[in-house]
């Protein structure tokens, strides 16, 4: 017991540690000050609006979270006067309407998502409906909805807004630029990185040695490692960011995963060598009549199925993870009647804690799988015959006996 007390005292009075502690406290105060200075913007009247209590409201809230949004919403509360306050910050809206480029802040919609608030800018009227921005037709004063809640007198505009997902992508991009350029710079002076670089170096080497090298091959892996590293860290950091209370759902957006899959498609299509195309279109060692049938299957596989499976897997895993976590959190509202407040909260706490642990694993696994499959596809495209062709007496090539693709697995 005495030793424990001594250690404790020595920690408390150690000057170096105290310096560190005071630095941490200073940073914490700065962060708290920054958060509390966030403007609390826009509120709607009515006591219950925005509060989530019933099952329908829960599923509506989850659906809203899964989508991209035009403002950065952190949390809402009802203050003493019964007003609903939303805390967060607005993001710029940039749209190409029938009157040209229009920009304004999303706070002008006053948190409306049902097309009730009309923003008039440079001759066009805009409404926000289900997280999408619509432009009203000429002469319309309010938006008309049909039975399935689609607008009848408004049309969608080209939307280049800085949405929540775009903010997430920019943040992660800047973070990666800073982290990896500082890591790269360290190697000029020393062979072992210090500080945060020690966290990144094993991961970089892991991607290079476990993903790029075995799948692409010793000769060609270098030129593709950059892309694989970028994709791996981009997806992984964004997946982890999605588990924080900020509520990013970037890798759960079809547009984002589709863009990533198309990048992989472009890379393996344009780096494919002669053998890749020959084995896809006119494969040797196959009866001639079957070749066109196989070519169609191979083409569909290369241009549709491979990118589609890449994009759907990432999108569906992350979206499903978010839905499960939020549904388990919502247990504390939906089961309040039958289990009591303490019981429902405890159940939802335990379940959501463990599912979040699994989600941390899934965040890594999905980044790993996307990178792995990208490397595999690229490897298929750049693989070379590593054996000599045999020639018969007249100098013609004798077709290979074994399928080249057996080497990949």
């Amino acid at each position: 017991m005495t030793t424990f007390a001594q250690i404790f005292r020595s920690i408390i009075f150690d000057k170096e540690i105290m310096k560190e502690v005071s630095k941490v406290i200073k940073n914490l105060v700065l962060i708290i000050a920054a958060i509390s200075s966030l403007q609390s913007f826009a509120f709607s009247e009515g006591q219950d609006e925005g509060a989530v209590n019933t099952k329908e409201e829960v599923s509506e809230y989850i659906n809203h979270h899964i989508k991209d949004s035009h403002d950065f919403h952190l949390f809402s509360f009802t203050n003493g006067e019964g007003e609903r306050k939303h805390v967060g910050f607005p993001l710029p809206v940039i749209v190409w309407s029938s009157n040209g480029l229009v920009t304004f802040m999303s706070s002008e919609f006053h948190h409306d998502d049902n097309g009730e608030v009309i923003v008039e800018k440079s001759g066009s009227k805009f409404v926000k409906l289900h997280s999408k921005i619509y432009e009203l037709e000429e002469g319309a004063t309010s938006v008309n909805l049909d039975e399935s809640h689609h607008a009848t007198n408004a049309h969608k505009v080209l939307d280049f807004s800085i949405t929540k997902s775009v903010v997430g992508i920019l943040l992660v991009g800047l973070f990666m630029l800073w982290a990896f350029s500082s890591l790269a710079r360290q190697y000029k002076n020393k062979s072992v990185p210090t500080g945060f670089g020690r966290v990144l170096e094993p991961l970089v080497i892991y991607v290079r040695d476990e993903i790029a090298k075995p799948n692409i091959g010793e000769k060609k892996y270098r030129q593709f490692t950059g892309y694989l590293l970028t994709v791996f860290f981009f997806i992984w950091i964004l997946n982890l960011l999605g588990l924080t209370p900020f509520g990013f759902n970037v890798t759960g957006q079809l547009a984002v995963t589709a863009a990533l899959a198309i990048l992989t498609l472009i890379i393996y299509t344009f780096s494919g060598n002669k053998d890749y195309w020959m084995h896809m279109l006119w494969m040797p060692g196959v009866p001639v009549l079957i070749r066109p049938v196989l070519a169609i299957i191979e083409l569909a596989g290369a241009f549709l199925i491979k990118p589609f499976s890449l994009l759907v897997r990432l999108f569906a895993n992350i979206s499903a993870g978010h839905i499960v976590v939020m549904s388990l959190i919502a247990i504390m509202f939906t089961l309040k009647e039958s289990l009591g407040v303490a019981g429902a909260t405890g159940l939802s706490l335990i379940l959501s804690f463990f599912i979040t642990l699994i989600e941390v694993l899934v965040a890594f696994l999905q980044a790993y799988i996307f990178t792995m499959l990208s490397a595999l596809f690229i490897g298929m495209a750049v693989a070379e015959h590593d054996h000599e062709h045999h020639h018969d007496a007249e100098g013609h090539e004798i077709p290979d006996e074994e399928d080249v693709r057996a080497d990949f697995i």
């Binding site: 075995p214 499976s309 890449l310 759907v312 569906a316 895993n317 792995m372 697995i409």
Partner: protein, 62 residues
């Protein structure tokens, strides 16, 4: 209603498939512990392909 039954069937099928993949990988690792790394990588890739198919079907059938 029918899409819910379809979703259930998808999940059952994917579960059987994942069980097969995991079980066979375990068997392989038990027989050849030195090949653990390779078997795990192949297992994860095939599980990911199956999962992508199952999720795709679920989202199309939702």
């Amino acid at each position: 209603m029918y899409n819910l039954i379809g979703a259930g069937l998808i999940v059952i099928g994917a579960g059987i498939g994942l069980g097969q993949i995991g079980g066979k990988a375990m068997e392989g690792i038990a027989r050849q512990p030195e090949a653990t790394g390779k078997i795990q990588t192949a297992m994860i890739i095939i599980a990911a392909l199956l999962e992508g198919l199952a999720f795709g079907a679920l989202f199309l059938g939702k």
